[in-house]
Symmetry: C2
Subunit: 342 residues, 2 copies
DNA sequence: GTGAAAGCGCTAACAC
DNA sequence: GTGTTAGCGCTTTCAC
């Protein structure tokens, strides 16, 4: 590669054609690796490309194809480690298939999601990965359905492919683990950041297991407040109330960690007086200081399946009705669970 | 908005023009909000746009402008909360200026960075935000310099604008805090994920303060190993060695948290026997379980300045030599620091 | 096997 | 104020 005069405008296919003494379609053929080209021509062209430092202008290519090779990725909150870890894996697998990704952070708000999707649509992304989906949103559906492949990862909608963990079974494992330890007053605690459908599945697994064991399910929801004190007040009441649970199944790790935080502040020993099981297995959960028993989602596998599925739709290898792929998750026992007090 | 026949090919500016009975440039003028348009024409066009559900094809616009409205964002590791939080803020401020972002995760590896940059270049991004920069990389520089504005955030290079915290002063605060508590054997612990230039600045602040106080600076580096045991072995030796430090200044929060983890495993009480100060103030640092004293970087402000600067370069409001903007950081005292033992 | 030519949908300069 | 026109750089028939 030669050192081009800086800031000169980049060479086009025409420049290469001239230099190689061929037509631009021939250059195009070489670039796109279409055979049926004389080795000699091939050589001339390749050399010209090198000498000029030519790079195909993707914009022009996209303009012709009317489509980019970009995935739109809708994510609830990048600052949430679970999403961040998933986002990273998605980017990785996409890059491996030479797709790029464009993120769009929604904060779980439908209006932001819509605006973000509009933006992604305008950019003519090739498909969309939902890491979070403001489910009620009929507008999102109207915007995308039939126009563009969408895959829902750890969330779901009937109108697109779904890749998710076996949430119900995961929650069952969590609950069984606690019951096995001797707990009876086990509550489920729902974090609003977790997608509705996903939360429902986890809740269902919890309820079933409780009922089968002859126990009464109880479900709490975190307040959506920004302010920590406001958010935690109701939880603290529960933690100090009369018939307080001896154990919690949380709908995600972050909620579980918040629970630990509350317990710490109230000087309730974990796991001595209170057991907590999370869901996701974010990196943080493995820190010695956190040491959270949790249900691990296979993040790499989820990301890989999602990217494969979306790419297949885009490239036309996969057609027809939406498919649903489920992968199993597993219980990781750490230090936040033990037998109930006394 | 009417319900278009699904999967029909999207209307073009020409369709709108026909329907409104005007020329396509008029439509273009309306779309781009250029005034000098009769209210009447304006109305006709707007209505046609609505009826057709027309959306300008950004690809075509980009093709003409020879440039996108996309920022490339180079990030070391999205799974690292500091980068994730920064990435989120960058996305937010970019969106507010109607730029989109395309991330590229490098894992701190130069080869990946180069490949990522090539990809971003091909996509004709309008500019690049480096949240991480494999500094030695002369190839990156060759690839970009003079071609495309670049801004370095919490990292730096002479050939682009820099936005960063006052790392030197931050480290000074951290060190002074420890000295103020009575510590004398204070070590600096460097995490390789922190950019070289940034690390140097923090180290300098630490060294200065130590020397001024007549104390001997000592610097440790984390091993780059993937395996935790391998990584932590040397640190554990230091923590249990004869003339072991009573306090650490870590080059970032994650390193500090790893330090806490080691201490916990070795049953060294923090802050009883060991004090630790981090750098960044990631959300995690504020958890009751972590409770890390740290130097807070103003993440929002860094992101805002970075986006503003890059946008100004792109839009031509800012020209000439690279500029450097520094914002101050502040000490947040939590529970990981106290007076030295005895 | 290679070349000529017709777009892809839009912007911008210039006529009217 | 509005219309006409010439590209932007590439892919893709279709002749040769």
């Amino acid at each position: 590669m030669e050192s081009e005069p800086p800031a000169a405008k980049p060479p086009t296919i025409l420049d290469v054609a001239k230099r190689a003494g061929v037509s631009k379609s021939t250059v195009s053929n070489v670039v796109r690796g279409i055979r049926s080209i004389t080795p000699k021509t091939q050589l001339k062209v390749t050399r010209a490309i090198e000498e000029l430092g030519y790079r195909p202008n993707i914009l022009a290519r996209q303009m012709v194809h009317q489509r980019t090779t970009i995935f739109g990725v809708v994510v609830g909150d990048l600052a949430n480690p679970f999403y961040a870890e998933m986002a990273k894996q998605i980017e990785r697998f996409a890059a491996a298939r030479s797709y790029r990704v464009m993120f769009c952070n929604t904060q779980g708000e439908e209006a932001v999601e819509i605006a973000g999707l509009e933006g992604l649509l305008q950019q003519r992304v090739a498909g969309i990965v939902f890491l979070a989906y403001a489910g009620g949103s009929t507008r999102s559906r109207a915007l995308l359905e039939g126009r563009m492949p969408a895959v829902f990862v750890t969330c779901s909608a009937e109108w697109g492919d779904v890749v998710c963990a076996d949430d119900e079974r995961g929650a069952r494992h969590a609950t069984e683990h606690l019951i096995g330890l001797g707990h009876e007053r086990i509550a489920y605690c729902a974090d609003p950041i977790v997608e509705d459908a996903t939360d429902r599945a986890r809740q269902a697994g919890y309820r079933q297991t409780m009922e089968r064991a002859g126990l009464t399910p109880t479900v709490f929801h975190w307040e959506r407040a920004e302010d920590r004190l406001l958010r935690e007040a109701p939880v603290e009441q529960i933690l100090t109330g009369p018939r307080r649970p001896t154990a919690f199944v949380s709908s995600n790790d972050l909620g579980a960690i918040d629970l630990l935080d509350c317990a710490d502040r109230l000087a309730i020993p974990v796991p001595g007086k209170l057991s907590v099981v999370g869901f996701d297995d974010v990196v943080m959960a493995g820190l010695a200081r956190i040491n959270l028993t949790t249900i691990a989602q296979p993040k790499e596998m989820l990301a890989r399946l999602a990217v494969d599925t979306l790419a297949s739709r885009i490239e036309g290898h996969l057609n027809g009705d939406p498919i649903r792929q489920t992968v199993s998750c597993r219980l990781i026992i750490r230090g936040s669970t033990a037998r109930p007090p006394r």
